[in-house]
Amino acid sequence: MQDVKEFREQMQPAILEGKHDFATVSDKIGDITLKRKTPFHWFVGFAIAFLITQVLLMTITYLVLTGVGIWGNNQPVGWAFDIINFVWWIGIGHAGTLISAILLLLNQKWRTSINRFAEAMTLFAVACAGLFPLLHTGRPWLAYWLLPYPNTMGMWPQFRSPLMWDVFAVSTYATVSLLFWYVGLIPDFATLRDRAKSKVFKIIYGVLSWGWRGSARHWHRYEIAYLLLAGLSTPLVLSVHSIVSFDFSVSQLPGWHATIFPPYFVAGAIFAGFAMVLILSIPLRHWYNLKDFVTMTHLDYMGKIMLATGLIVCYGYAMEAFFGWYSAAQYEYFMIRNRIWEGPYWWSYWLLILCNGISIQLLWFKRFRQSEFWLFTISVIVSIGMWLERFVIIVTSLHRDFLPSSWAMYSPTIFDWSMFIGTIGFFFALFYLFVRFVPIISIFEVRTLLPEAHVHGHHQDFEEIVNEVEIEKIDKP
């Protein structure tokens, strides 16, 4: 019979590999930013991403000079790539928030080595997402009209519209995510400040770390702030994408008006987000030799989360199809038939099922979850699938209006594509800069995973640490 210890390890594998102590952790992560020569592939990657960003800038320039007519949107497909891409990007961000906030509150230790770059991913994805509705207004310099402020025009936003809720949801999301990310970075910036050799970097990281000295009082305040921010971020994981789903579901359009939408959208967001975290983490751990911190266990867990959320998404497809028929409502039933096999976009539906439904079934098997190649491939397929999902929901529901005389086909123009691909370039350009100038893994949090950090002989959660510091404060005033 197996040794009980061995069995426990098998059931709960280690999330930190190799031999490390406080110093080697700081070295290994901090040196990427401070000491090591910037690798050649960084320049190549950044150059490509930066070039694609220029495509975005050119598209935006032409768009602003000409108007949204350069896009393929028409009647009745009044929403197309703009909102597809908006929802796609904003969904991707959700994994970062889930990892940083919910997994923290659930006391999941494995999050510590992936939360930093996942949160950065969130911020950059939200930045890309925000561009689309902003530019779809046609006059982005008047976008502040979306906000309720007293003005002489007698204008007031329509608070019953979920598009209005989006303005608040997304801006809150961006703000809280930024704060959470930055607060998490302060102790690490201080570490970089102390280790930097060049004066310029010393000053820059010094300013960024706000005079952090790591005193007990600093840590006490810090941990309370971090826990509060985690609490604030947690509802955002659900609320933001629920509100995005309301953009569609509170309408009366068949294919949009479904009560399953909020949870199904949230699951889809986390699904797409974890696919992107995997797409980023697999190359990162190779290029920067971080396999001790981002272990196969991490990848395995992420694969499992992808499988679980992907199955919820598939449940959504199943329920939509079943109730499309069950409803016995003329338009509902037409819509679902049209979407699945009778309409001209049937191929997009089946491609979607292939990407989001079939491909993830491989993740049931440990063999695939333990293979970087397969995880990466499936993640790319899922990213495409989640984009297709929004295409299917938006375009196939709109292109068959209630009256056949209003029917039309939709096809994207070159500017739809250049704008979308441009944001991908922009996203990666930002990510390359992040990798170069900011510690990509939380140094101080990984230190807490080390055995020497466990003076109490068991893993502590944040709440406990806060409590203890409080008790110490009372004991020794």
Partner: protein, 404 residues
């Protein structure tokens, strides 16, 4: 240590059986008076069945969930949810009256009496919504749930006897795919048994509403039982404040998920304002039903939500159990709110007003089913040690509860 259940459970069993027996008898007699009363008696039985059967089925879901996630909380509550899941045998027996009386309570079983609109809808749905198919599906639901309950309980017992830890791995691996089927079965069972009471209504989130509702009820029930056990030998040696803290956190999450699903359904239907769906809420926003709706918002969500935010409440077994029992009562109110206003077969699909539809049977029904259910549950709970004695994580799970 033997981890044997306290002897007092035998007394509980006797009381429960008495209540269940008398209640069932009362329903039987009441049901003989008139066709209207027969329909009412069966509806009340259905209410009890959906409520208590939901705890059996929900407990199976939690059993699967804790095998999937791992963690101390799962080890500590495993024997309670296992016992609840084994009551499925009784629940299947208690389904027989509903099976036999389906045409007494489900309007869709009489398409020949339907008006033109409903006739068209029922004709369209006929391949799914016909009595033989409905019965066949019920057999499938129970069959697959039985299989899951049987296997998980068998492995758990084997682990007690042989100490073979590999069975834990087996159970965990089984729980993944089982969970997928479980959620699908819950969805379609709740559609078949509850949603079709109103033959017009449909909502795509219905399955999730019941997965969350049944999960919440069984989880709250488990906490209440655990809190009681923790005041007696042997579980007072096992359970610590930290366990209740963890359980309380998940209870809060369940409450929020329930509210989130319900709010989603309400907002989407209210905003869409389409006649084929919105009638469902319009009926439930009028008069007495409207008051129950407000009660649900305040006491099924807001109150437990605020109370469970407190760390002290979560760590105190007595307080946590009180709020858990309160939630169980609100689960009954919620199911009453869903089932109560639905149309009556004896009135050819017409609905009763709030005051007319209140019946003593709606209280006796859940008591009758509940008495029998609890009698069976306490019996099952005594059959095995109260913790999985050979679980390799038992020691660390107990240790976890003792930390602060």
């Amino acid at each position: 240590m033997s981890y044997k259940a306290p002897e007092e459970l035998k007394n509980f069993q006797r009381i429960a059986l008495g209540v269940g027996g008398i209640g069932t008898l009362a329903l039987l007699i009441g049901g003989l008076i008139s066709p209207e009363m027969r329909e009412q008696a069966l509806r009340s039985w259905l209410l009890g069945f959906v409520f208590w059967g939901g705890i059996s089925i929900g407990s199976l879901g939690i059993l699967l969930l804790q095998y999937l996630t791992g963690g101390a909380w799962g080890v500590i509550i495993r024997r309670i949810v296992e016992a609840s899941s084994r009551t499925l045998t009784l629940v299947a027996v208690m389904f027989i009256p509903i099976l036999l009386g389906a045409s007494t309570i489900y309007e869709w079983t009489h398409p020949e009496k339907a008006d033109e609109t409903l006739k068209r809808i029922l004709d369209h749905r006929a391949p799914y919504l016909n009595l033989p198919a409905w019965i066949a599906r019920a057999v499938i639901y129970f069959g697959l749930w039985f299989l899951m309950v049987y296997l998980l309980n068998k492995w758990s017992k084997q682990m007690d006897e042989t100490g073979d830890w590999k069975l834990l791995k087996k159970a965990s691996q089984f729980s993944g795919p089982a969970m997928v089927f479980f959620v699908l079965l819950v969805s379609f069972a709740s559609i078949d048994w509850v949603m079709t009471l109103d033959p017009h209504f449909y909502s795509t989130i219905w399955g999730f509403l019941f997965a969350a509702g049944w999960g919440l009820a069984s989880y709250a029930f488990t906490i209440a039982v655990l809190a009681w056990l923790s005041t007696r030998e042997p579980m007072n040696q096992v359970i610590g404040r930290r366990h209740f803290h963890d359980l309380g956190k998940l209870l809060l999450a369940f409450v929020m998920v329930w509210a989130y699903f319900n709010f989603s359904q309400f907002l989407i239907i209210w905003s869409g304002n389409l006649p084929e769906e919105t009638f469902w809420y319009l009926e439930r926003m009028e008069g007495g039903w409207g008051i129950i709706g407000v009660i649900l918002i305040v006491f099924h969500f807001a109150f437990p939500f605020v109370v469970l935010l407190s760390r002290d409440v979560k760590r105190n077994a007595r307080w946590l159990a009180s709020i858990a029992i309160f939630i169980i009562v609100m689960r009954f109110v919620d199911l009453y709110y869903i089932i109560g206003p639905s149309p009556r077969v004896t009135l050819h699909g017409a609905k009763l007003s709030f005051s007319e539809s209140i019946s003593w049977m709606d209280f006796v029904g859940p008591l009758a089913v509940g008495g029998l259910w609890l009698w069976y549950f306490f019996g099952e709970l005594q059959k095995r040690p109260l913790v999985p004695v050979n679980d390799p994580f038992l020691e660390s799970a107990i240790e976890h509860g003792k930390s602060h």
